[in-house]
Every structure is written in structure tokens, then in C-alpha cells.
Amino acid sequence: MEILLALLVGVLYTTGIYMVLRRSILKFIIGIIFIGNATNLIVFLASGIVAGEPAFVDGSVQNASQMADPLPQAFVLTSVVISFGLVVFALALKLKFFEITGTDDLDQLKKTDN
């Protein structure tokens, strides 16, 4: 399971980086979403995945070392919420930029460089 997920992380990062390097702003944002999901999976994977033993749910924990670690879940939940906000902001910014300039091409963003 962990090897599969590790491969998935790799695939997500590859896809994300490919999308980030494209010229369109929208594709850049999609790439960021991919990388964000891959990162969340890393947080899960690095702390060890335990299947079928949710933490603290029924209050009858026999062996705390066997149940899933609730902390990474809290981290991932928080970071999912944060990236939700960031992605929406990025999309709003992109829409506004498109309305004003009529372009979605990152190569046209040269005005502030010199």
C-alpha cells in the first residue's frame, strides 16, 4: 500500500510540475492543485498509514500504538482548507487579470520585469 501511494505521490508531483511549467495561468493553478495534493499525501505517508483503526472514535482504545495517528490527519485537514482558500484566491486573481488584459499567457507578463 505504501509503495503504491509513494508512486502516486511521484506521479502527482510529475504532473503538477509539468502543469506548472505550462504557459497558461489556469494550467499553472491546476499544477499547484496537483502538487498540493501530492504534498498532503506525503504528510500522511511519512507518518505511517494505519488502515481500519481510526483514532479515538469509540473511546475503547486498547492499544494506542496500533491506531492511526490523528495528528497528521489534523495537519492534512488544515492544509486542505488552506489550499482551498489559496486556490480560490488564485482563480479570482486570474479571472480579474483576464478581464483587464484579455490574456491567459504567462509569457505576456513582462510589464513588471524591467
Binding site: T39, S47, P72, G85, F89, K96, I100, T112
Partner: protein, 502 residues
């Protein structure tokens, strides 16, 4: 000890107040009063830290290392004071300069959200909490940078957003690896674990990710490109705020992490930091001397100054760390001040472009004096703050036989002097050009008058710079204490984890 949380809770309260306030005059007054109270809170914390040592607060009653711990030690309290001092000056500045379509109460909401994030980052003792505060800073700075909705701002905003989003994702990945390896994210607990036992390669991957993430925030050499592309686009008030606070939060995090728990392969990492510091200084300084827009010169100049702070961290002796902290506070005050003056020049002349400006020394002698103070401080002229900051750093470098980096730093100091003299010559000494249109074909606006409210924030910050220079001895003593705590974090670890030393 709920006072420890006040630097975070108070801005939160202010945000709620600004949601309700409708009139912009009231918002301005509340902004100034609020930031003055914030300054009072930080000074109160300073007194407490002086009397009782490190203050901690276990939020929610969960003992460290289980819960989130807020820690105010010497370094944190120094940063809190300087932050609220700058914020106080900028909140006055905003009255005179957040005008036209930049005049909005939304500014104050996100202004204080940014302050809340910065204060949170300075006080937290938990890595994940630090991530959350970084995101708070990031989101509020996104909004601040695009207030006004001009084409350039949106473009700068996109560039700023792109690199910083990637930076925070790398931060998160590094955090995940760190948690996986040690099973904790409390900084003191991490320090305890990583100091007592050998750890695997995973820590090195985590260190790399953190280094890049904080490097992006701090704008060090290969990762700084977002800064000059975006800092000159927003309203000058926002730029001054960013210049004073944002990159320094990154430097603070680097300092905290690389002294407290990233001590595996320390020789290698300090060498990396040293090389990065050298390149940051030189590249920033050279780029600054090539430009003619004041905001651009100053933006590149921020980067070059970040190099000095990293240099202090990389030399890693108590004296060098103290020098880095001294340099940081000196730089926060003086750098913000130069941006404030750039805004005033723009108000008088209608442009930031040096070739279209001139004769300011006759037009406004007070402005010339105000510019001299931070410019000389940045260039390192005694008895202003920059001289002592650079002197401590050079002395530390020479004592520990890092001659190459000292040579680079001296060279950069000359570049700094050059770019400051350039602004001085072009803007103040040179005769005013008599053209109606600027070199870029923009109609030069009818000059405005500056009133006392426009000058006041710069006067306050200038006095701060002079104070840092005149009382360098007593300031240095407190900073040396902070540096000793960083080099030898035993007290920090014991206080946070509540270990009795007997």
C-alpha cells in the same frame, strides 16, 4: 499567562472592529490607536521577559509537547517590538498615502491580519503552527498587493503568488517528513530529540525542503525573483510594510530552525548558507546599482541586505548571531523608512523614476534630512545603527577567520553606498528637469504639498534609527543574550518542556 497570546489576539479583535466600521476617518484613527496599543503590548512583554526569562503558554491546556505552545523568548520579543514599532509608523503613513482608489477599509482588515500572522510566526513554538501563520501572512499579503486593481498590480500579484505558493507547499512537505521521522512538531521537543540521537537521511531531505521554503520567503540568492517583480507594484504603504516585515519572517524562521534543531551535518549547511549569503549580497547590490526606479533600487537592496543576516547565521558564533539580529532590527527600521521617503518623493514629483526627479533639497530640506538618516544608516556611517550592525558582523567574521565573506560584505557595503548616493544625487542634488513629460512618456503630475502627517512616520522611524545607534551598547547587551539563547538552547528547551534543572 494569557499575555503571551495578546500580540495575536489583539489584531484579531481589531479585524472585527474594522469589519463593523464604515467611515474611513474612523478606520484611520482606530488603525493608529490599535497599532499604538500593539506597541504597548510588546513593550509590556519585553519587561516581563526581562524579569522572568522565557514566557510560554500552552494553548488549550495541553502540555508541551502535545499541544501548541506559544513561546516568547528574547529573540521573539525583540522582533515583536520592532514589528509593532514599524506598524505604528506605517499606520500613520497610511492616512496620508492610502488615498484615491486605494482608500478602503479593506486595507486595515488585511493589514492587521498580516500583523496577526507575523506576530504569530514570531511567538509560536510549533512547526505546524508556524506553517499556519505563514499562510495567514501569505493570504493577507495577496490581498494587500492587489488593492487598487491596476494591471501592474495584478501582474505583480500573480508572480508573487506563484513562487510563494510553491514555497509553502515545500514547507508542508518538509514538515511532513520531519514529523514522520521524529513524531513531534514542537520545536523544543524536536531540538531535544534531534540533539540526543542519530537520525537518518530523511532529516536531510526535510532540511533541504525547509531551506528552500524559507529561502523563498527570505528572498535569498537563487530564489529571490518574485521580490523585484512584485514589490514595486502596490501602493507604497503596502510596499513599505512588506519590505519591513515579510522577508524578515523568513530570516527569523531560518535562524530559529538552523540554531534549534537542524544541527545534523551542520558544517555542510553552514557552508551552504555562507555561499548563499555571499551571492545574495553581491547580486542584490549589483542589481540595485543598475536601476533608476527608486522602488526597484530599494527592492534589490532588500535582497542584498538579507545576505548580511544570513552571513551572521552562517558564521554561527554568538557574536555573529548577535550581529545578524542587530542587523535585522536595524534593517527593518531603516529599510521601511527609505520606502516611506520614496513614497513622499513620488507625492512631490509624481514619479518614482530618478531621471525625472531633481532639486528636492531646495524644495523640501526636511525630506533631505529624513532621507539622510536611513540612507547613512544603511550605508553604515557611524554613529547610526547600520555602522554597529556591520561592525559586529565584520568583527565576528574576522574572529572566526571567514575572511572571504567579510571581503564580500565590505564590497557590498560599497555597492550600498553607491546606490544610496545615486538616489541622493539624482533626486536631491541634481537640478529639477524642466520637461513636461517623463522619460517614459508619462505626464508628470502637478506637484503636491506634503504636510506634517506625511512626514511624521518617517520622523518616528528616523528617531528609531538614531536611538539604535546612540544606545547601541544597551541594545547589544539584550541582543547578545538572545544570541546566547539561540546558540545554546538548553534554557529554551527546558522552559518549554517544563523540565526542572535541579
Amino acid at each position: 499567562m494569557a499575555t503571551v497570546a495578546l500580540p495575536i489576539l489583539f489584531p484579531f479583535l481589531l479585524i472585527l472592529v474594522f469589519v463593523v466600521i464604515k467611515s474611513s476617518r474612523a478606520a484611520q484613527i482606530v488603525g493608529v490607536l490599535g497599532s499604538a496599543s500593539l506597541l504597548a503590548i510588546s513593550l509590556f512583554l519585553f519587561i516581563q521577559v526581562n524579569e522572568q526569562g522565557i514566557l510560554t503558554l500552552n494553548v488549550g491546556g495541553w502540555e508541551a509537547p502535545m499541544g501548541i505552545t506559544l513561546v516568547v523568548d528574547h529573540l521573539s520579543v525583540i522582533m515583536l517590538i520592532v514589528t509593532s514599532f514599524i506598524v505604528f509608523a506605517i499606520s500613520i503613513y497610511a492616512i496620508g498615502f492610502m488615498v484615491g482608489n486605494h482608500k478602503t477599509n479593506k486595507f486595515y482588515i488585511f493589514f492587521f491580519a498580516l500583523i496577526m500572522g507575523v506576530n504569530g510566526a514570531f511567538t509560536t513554538g510549533d512547526v505546524f503552527n508556524l506553517y499556519v501563520w505563514f499562510e495567514v501572512i501569505l493570504i493577507s499579503s495577496f490581498v494587500l498587493i492587489v488593492i487598487g486593481d491596476s494591471k501592474e498590480q495584478l501582474e505583480g500579484g500573480i508572480k508573487y503568488m506563484a513562487l510563494n505558493l510553491i514555497g509553502s507547499l515545500l514547507f508542508l512537505a518538509g514538515l511532513g517528513l520531519l514529523y514522520g521521522e521524529t513524531g513531534t512538531l514542537n520545536m523544543a521537543h524536536l531540538a531535544q530529540i534531534l540533539r540526543t540521537s542519530e537520525h537518518s537521511l530523511l532529516i536531510n531531505s526535510s532540511t533541504t525542503l525547509f531551506f528552500i521554503a524559507f529561502g523563498i520567503k527570505a528572498a535569498v540568492f537563487p530564489l529571490f525573483f518574485w521580490l523585484p517583480a512584485s514589490y514595486h507594484t502596490p501602493n507604497i504603504t503596502v510596499t513599505a510594510l512588506f519590505a519591513g516585515l515579510l522577508t524578515k519572517v523568513g530570516v527569523y524562521a531560518l535562524m530559529r530552525f538552523f540554531t534549534l534543531f537542524f544541527i545534523q551535518d551542520q558544517v555542510f549547511w553552514l557552508n551552504v548558507l555562507l555561499v548563499v549569503a555571499g551571492f545574495t549580497m553581491v547580486v542584490g547590490g549589483m542589481a540595485a546599482s543598475a536601476h533608476y526606479d527608486i522602488r526597484r533600487i530599494l527592492s534589490y537592496h532588500i535582497i542584498s541586505q538579507i545576505g548580511y543576516m544570513i552571513m551572521g547565521l552562517a558564521i554561527f558564533t554568538p557574536l555573529a548571531i548577535a550581529g545578524a539580529i542587530f542587523f535585522m532590527i536595524h534593517n527593518m527600521v531603516a529599510k521601511t523608512n527609505t520606502f516611506l521617503i520614496a513614497g513622499m518623493i513620488n507625492k512631490l514629483k509624481g514619479t518614482f523614476y530618478l531621471k525625472d526627479i531633481g532639486g528636492l533639497i531646495k524644495q523640501s530640506p526636511l525630506l533631505a534630512v529624513l532621507f539622510i538618516i536611513p540612507a547613512f544608516a544603511l550605508a553604515g556611517v557611524p554613529p547610526l545603527s547600520g555602522f554597529f550592525a556591520k561592525f559586529i558582523l565584520f568583527k565576528a567574521g574576522a574572529e572566526s577567520e571567514h575572511y572571504a565573506i567579510v571581503a564580500v560584505a565590505v564590497f557590498t557595503a560599497m555597492l550600498t553606498l553607491y546606490s544610496m548616493v545615486k538616489i541622493w544625487n539624482e533626486a536631491f542634488l541634481k537640478e529639477s528637469p524642466t520637461k513636461e513629460f517623463s522619460a517614459k512618456g508619462v505626464l508628470l503630475k502637478i506637484p503636491n504639498k506634503l504636510s506634517f502627517i506625511h512626514f511624521l512616520p518617517s520622523i518616528i522611524l528616523g528617531l528609531g534609527t538614531v536611538f539604535l545607534g546612540l544606545f547601541a551598547q544597551s541594545v547589544y547587551q539584550f541582543i547578545a543574550e538572545a544570541a546566547n539563547q539561540l546558540i545554546d538552547p538548553e534554557i529554551y528547551i527546558n522552559t518549554v518542556l517544563n523540565i526542572n534543572m535541579q
